[in-house]
Symmetry: C2
Amino acid sequence: MSVKAKNAKKDQDAELYSLGAAFNGSEIVPILEARIPIIDMGFLHSDVCYDVVSVWHGSFFRLKEHMDRFEKSYQGLGFSMPYTKQQMRQILLDMVARSRLRDAYVYMCATRGLPNLDDPRNFEKYQQMFYAFAVEFIWLIDPEEQKIGTDVIVSSVPRIPKESVDPTIKNHHWGDLTRADLEAHKKGARTAFLLDLEGNLTEGPGFNIFVIKDGKLLTPDSNVLLGITRLTVFELAKEMKIEARACKVPLATLRAADEIFMCTTAGGIMPIKSLDDVPISGGKPGPITMRLHKAFWKAHDDPKYLTPVDYK
Amino acid sequence: MSVKAKNAKKDQDAELYSLGAAFNGSEIVPILEARIPIIDMGFLHSDVCYDVVSVWHGSFFRLKEHMDRFEKSYQGLGFSMPYTKQQMRQILLDMVARSRLRDAYVYMCATRGLPNLDDPRNFEKYQQMFYAFAVEFIWLIDPEEQKIGTDVIVSSVPRIPKESVDPTIKNHHWGDLTRADLEAHKKGARTAFLLDLEGNLTEGPGFNIFVIKDGKLLTPDSNVLLGITRLTVFELAKEMKIEARACKVPLATLRAADEIFMCTTAGGIMPIKSLDDVPISGGKPGPITMRLHKAFWKAHDDPKYLTPVDYK
């Protein structure tokens, strides 16, 4: 291809992929063209696990940890994937390169997949599928709002118990989380925290929760996703000599917190300024939260966490 | 079009649609071509409700009741559908006509739909979608097996509680149901019954459950889908002067049953012959179950329940 033709191709691609890129099970396509079969059990029975990893300033952040968790998830569902872990990793790298996104929200999933229409009930013999997409980095809470803190409620909707659906296998069973979010919006809050059926804190729609009391970090140890950002918080706290512990967190402990923050790949470490209209840490981001927040974004320059994308 | 051209078109269509037809949100297509956008929240967050209605010998069975329940479901999720109920009903009729299937399993769903990629978190403004498909009638239990009865287990996986996800809004949150089914298959049984967290009977993967004791029918009144086949059982029992009641059904009541059957659109009224390897009604279909089974299939000739498909 001539240099001119190459440049024309690049321009055309940039237009097509301007909203993002996806892997549709067999090839990389523009995000708006990415479709999955309606009869995929990942849709019909939400028989699917997923993961979300970020790309920041042109590099994946903690890609290894996300791929390891993703592998545990699909193995936990007994899936036999059509690609090796190494191949799926490479698909993600190629997909982000094609999108040309420097800061991206990268989703991947494994589904139970396609039935044999001659024997649709025999779902142990389905053909498993791998799909993915990359769009511009999604901020669960805008950076501007993160500076002042976020208002949340404690939802009246209990989290689906782990006995029914395992939350450590990241899944699409968001019915309870969506109801909680809608409840929060109705009450003028940004989002919601969900309790388990015994009234202990679990997680929110897409994020883990940390409580700070007397200088110590507490986060629920059960009925939650084992978040990679949650893991990073533990590591940063250790470096900063802040005690951090996963344990049961009763609602009373949450309400008595000195500081609260939520954390996720899609937004980082996000301070809470009120809970059910009651100010937390004086109605502004707390000091320990902001130290962790800064350390978290500084870690995005640490090569040990980064996998650079080759944009060519 | 000439007669010859018309016939050629018909033959081509028959080939394309031999495995079924689907409505992909905008048009009717062969089932294997039916795809949905990967970014539809019906997939990503299982933010979707659905319904399944049967076509038997060229007529929909209780289409009105299924459309009414479907309407309640999507209204319950706060969806604003892109088609009226009447239009969706017509799409189903046209889709089945195109498939030429005389006995069909007809699925329809409403999803939260497509985000605005410029504001992906604002899911209250998503564009809702309607999809559907028709494939050959699916027997949850084969007719031959229905003559001898089916082996089931009581699963160790509790049903997702109604406080987290409302089971009367028929949904794709099948994680618990799939785990229960896999547990049953591992133990050599066909399928599983799920209990709630208090140990009362709920439902199974895709079906309601009836217990017969001392000539009376009992079925759970909570944590279950309000099935249309379940409704038909109540109506048939009334005609046959058999007492039938929806109430709490503790595990002990289930184990002490004279007869047990499960029921669903995809298979009708299906007798159970063993529960956790213990024979039920002498290890064969019970007499009241079989009277209801016969009456159920006889009802498929009753014009009051039927909506004929115009195959042209």
